[in-house]
Assembly symmetry: C2
DNA sequence: CTCGAATGTAGGCGCCGACAACAATGCTGT
DNA sequence: ACAGCATTGTTGTCGGCGCCTACATTCGAG
């Protein structure tokens, strides 16, 4: 039986992150334990300590990876040739889809617990993500399709609405399909406002 | 010395809830421990078990109490005699203020972990809270100040935006004062939309 | 090929939540 | 008045956790 694992795992760090994300998705943040992850990876309970100084460090790494994936999703969903409303809708749908099937991960990404160290990388990641949306807004402003004003404010409004919907969906207050189905109407309302014209 | 506490605490349940909320506010959800609460209340580590079957039960009770306080805040902030935009602004400000200085509690209230038992009460509490906003929307619709359409959809949009802003503020992505200061503009944008008129 | 750095192991500490067995107290019906 | 039961609190224990330290194995640069 050559199947006695080698002393060194080979890529424990990645294995831990992968396992952590699986657990996150299947059982939630609360059920995440370093010892359990170590068991799944077939190493001793202290081995994870070699790769993550503590549990929070692993969560930070997880969040960072999440920003990468989200950023990629948004980038590939953004089509600058589309007319404004459809462009925004596509972006919104992409964000919402990510938020819905990465609910726990997204919560981690937004958690305000990152040490000053990781915070820098985190802030950069956030900026990159927000940038996708801000770009669309700024473009539309240049073309006169959107009212003037600090683009950051308008981005904030738009982003907040999306995040709010995502939050409702994650909290069970809104069925995920309903959230996705309602996107077109949502974007329309956002653009045209609640008041009659 | 008569100062040996009586065998019975008197109102341990309330004391635990109060202590829990203090801890929640000061150190966050993660730092909340039943044993610690018991210590603070001057009882043995198992005493809390008499009042809350497990930790989640205490969290549920905390969330319920939170809904009560939020509902009260919203009710007393709603002034039906105000014109629409000012009325909405006042309501929004009230919600945001609550969200900002009860961030951890609000997170608990939105957490999707409530047992089927408590879920009923929880759902009722949510409905009551959402009702405050829905009432304003419905009133405005009747007066023709807001476009027609399912009031629940419009409420969803408005609520989502508020919750999103609150979420950004809680996550440190937006300074709390900035959030509160931006409310008027935010409500205005919501009513009039992003497109030029 | 050696020796230090990187990685994994074994054991232990103090904390936690949950449970069970037992003790003190409050309350209700008679 | 008080017996008996339900309520509330105590002590002790169990397994699990995160984190730390001391030690073992392997890798890789010189």
């Amino acid at each position: 039986m050559p199947e006695s694992r080698p002393y060194h795992h080979g890529d424990l760090r990645s294995a831990l992150l992968a396992g952590a994300e699986r657990t996150l998705r299947e059982k939630g943040t609360g059920a995440l334990s370093l010892r359990e992850l170590a068991r799944e990876a077939g190493v001793s309970h202290a081995a994870p300590g070699r790769h993550f100084k503590d549990k929070q460090a692993l969560l930070n790494a997880l969040a960072l990876a999440g920003y990468d994936r989200l950023g990629q999703a948004l980038d590939s969903a953004d089509d600058a040739t589309l007319p404004l409303e459809r462009r925004l809708t596509a972006l919104a749908r992409s964000y919402l889809a990510f938020a819905i099937d990465n609910a726990e991960l997204l919560e981690l990404m937004y958690a305000r617990k990152h040490e000053p160290d990781a915070s820098e990388q985190m802030a950069a990641a956030v900026d990159r993500t927000v940038g996708s949306l801000e770009r669309v807004i700024a473009d539309a402003q240049e073309r006169g399709e959107i009212i003037a004003g600090d683009p950051q404010h308008l981005t904030l409004l738009t982003g907040a609405t999306l995040q709010g919907i995502a939050s409702f969906a994650a909290g069970g207050m809104l069925a995920p399909e309903a959230a996705l189905d309602g996107i077109e109407e949502l974007v329309h309302l956002l653009l045209h406002g609640l008041k009659p014209r």
